[in-house]
């Protein structure tokens, strides 16, 4: 017995409301963040991740109120990402009640931010979100690059090398999203997940593409992920987090039940 693998429902939050993008383009409304967080906590979620996709920087403060509200009622770890550009952004989110802050695009443009934030607040609260897309052609060795701008721009950086660099700079955890799979419901990109989990010794969360419970199990068993993240399969009531845990536990994966 030992450390359990984690199941993490992810809420995309736009202006204080939960939405979920399909390949980050089409979004549909799935409700109030506090209510959803409470439901997930009751179902046994191991953590909850909030991705703030609010476009206007004027409305950025909204996420702080969301986190404050959730943190007074839900006593499990909360991770928040989206729009984090400066150490000050990290501080505000932590003060609002986030336990971990995910840095995404800003890490690509200013990698020092990862070092600065982890030196200051501790690695344990700095997650680097890696959005990767396959760039190798059929028949070539697999290769993935970092993409920014919701998966539209190739940053020209190898995803596995980037993961190693982020770990060196002080990231405490990596959230690896396959941009090819996000919203497709055909399962995680397991070769990508495994390439990164094998390259680093910090925890890795697999994300992007979950459509059923076996996808979650495969993320752990085949992708070697420490945690698996999913959004729509939970939001729309297809499966509860509890059912997901039972499914993984039945395959010998250690779970908090």
């Amino acid at each position: 017995m030992g450390l359990a693998k984690r199941i993490i429902p992810c809420l995309d939050v736009d202006n204080g409301r939960v939405v979920k993008g399909v390949n980050f383009v089409n979004i549909r409304d799935a409700g109030d963040p506090v209510e959803i967080a409470r439901r997930y906590n009751a179902e046994g979620a191991d953590e909850i991740t909030f991705l703030d996709i609010t476009a206007s920087s004027d409305d950025r403060e909204t996420i702080l109120h969301v986190i404050e509200d959730v943190a007074t009622q839900v006593f499990i770890p909360l991770t928040v990402g989206g729009g984090v550009r400066k150490v000050e952004d990290v501080r505000k989110l932590l003060n609002a009640g986030a336990d971990k802050v995910a840095i995404n695009t800003a890490a690509v443009f200013t990698p020092e931010l990862v070092k600065e934030a982890s030196d200051y607040f501790g690695s344990q609260c700095i997650v680097v979100a890696i959005d990767a897309k396959q760039v190798s052609e059929e028949g070539e060795p697999l290769k993935w690059n970092i993409f920014t701008h919701g998966g539209r721009k190739d940053a020209g950086i190898d995803a596995v090398e980037w993961a190693e660099k982020m770990a060196e700079l002080g990231a405490g955890e990596l959230l690896v999203t396959s941009m090819d799979r996000d919203g497709t419901k055909i399962g995680f990109n397991l070769p990508l997940t495994k390439a990164i989990t094998d390259a680093v010794d910090i925890p890795v969360i697999a994300s992007g593409g979950v459509g059923n419970l076996q996808h979650l199990a495969d993320g752990v068993l085949k992708g070697h992920a420490d945690a698996v993240l999913a959004a729509s399969i939970f939001h729309f009531g297809e499966y509860t987090v509890g059912e997901a845990k039972q499914h993984l536990a039945a395959q010998g994966i250690e779970m908090r039940l």
Binding site: L3, F75, G97, F121, G122, G172, D201, H224
Partner: protein, 216 residues
């Protein structure tokens, strides 16, 4: 009316601890996040949290002039150390090339990766240990009331406590090795995980603390 002081020495956000205590404490309990020496000494109970690096924690405690106050409170009243608040009660930590800690208890804080069992292990472990692990209750204690043996709590750490006197240990956890994840002596209870983030069992432990008279 009883009061609980949460010691604020500039190491991280204490709001989660405070919110969780408010959630479980009896109505009318005063819960204060404070750096004030007198408030800490006057409180009925003291919670000593902590996160970040050992060196920074010790430096901050000194800068806030709270070293003697924390040690005194730990002698006099129900005292709960959480995470780094457990580690700095020991003599020394291997973190940051070696840091002298409060020395309340005899023992060291060691790095997981330096443990031979882990260094030579075939199984790949990730660091920090991040997530829900089991706490095996090695002794009875009022803070374990209504919590199942081997219940899971949320952990985030790369260093662990190694006590010289095994009777100090009241909880153990396995992560590559079996280590002391909770210690108890007289009015002190200290735990490596984050009860404030450990859902119902964590809240139960905090509730037990709010009701504890400080006697093991």
């Amino acid at each position: 009316m009883s009061s609980i002081a949460i010691v604020d020495y500039g190491m991280g956000n204490l709001r989660s601890v405070s919110q969780a205590l408010k959630h479980v404490a009896a109505d009318g309990t005063r819960i204060e996040i404070t750096s004030d020496r007198q408030h800490i000494l006057n409180a009925d109970k003291v919670v000593f949290p902590g996160q970040g690096a050992a060196r920074d924690c010790m430096r901050s405690l000194k800068e806030y002039d709270l070293v003697d106050v924390v040690l005194q409170a730990s002698e006099e009243k129900p005292f709960l150390g959480i995470c780094m608040g457990m580690q700095v009660l020991m003599q020394t930590s291997a973190e940051n090339d070696g840091v002298d800690c409060l020395g309340k208890f005899s023992g060291q804080v060691k790095r997981f990766k330096d443990a031979p069992e882990i260094a030579n292990s075939e199984e790949k472990l990730t660091f920090p240990q991040m997530g829900w692990n089991q706490v095996f209750q090695t002794t009875d204690h009022p803070l374990w009331h209504s919590i199942d043996d081997a219940a899971r709590f949320y952990f985030v750490h790369s260093y662990f406590v190694s006590v010289d006197d095994p009777s100090l240990s009241c909880g153990e956890t396995e992560y590559g090795i079996r280590y002391t994840s909770a210690i108890a002596k007289d009015s002190v209870f200290a735990i490596q995980c984050h009860p404030e983030k450990s859902a119902d069992d964590g809240l139960q432990l905090l509730k037990n603390f709010t009701q504890w008279d400080g006697k093991a």
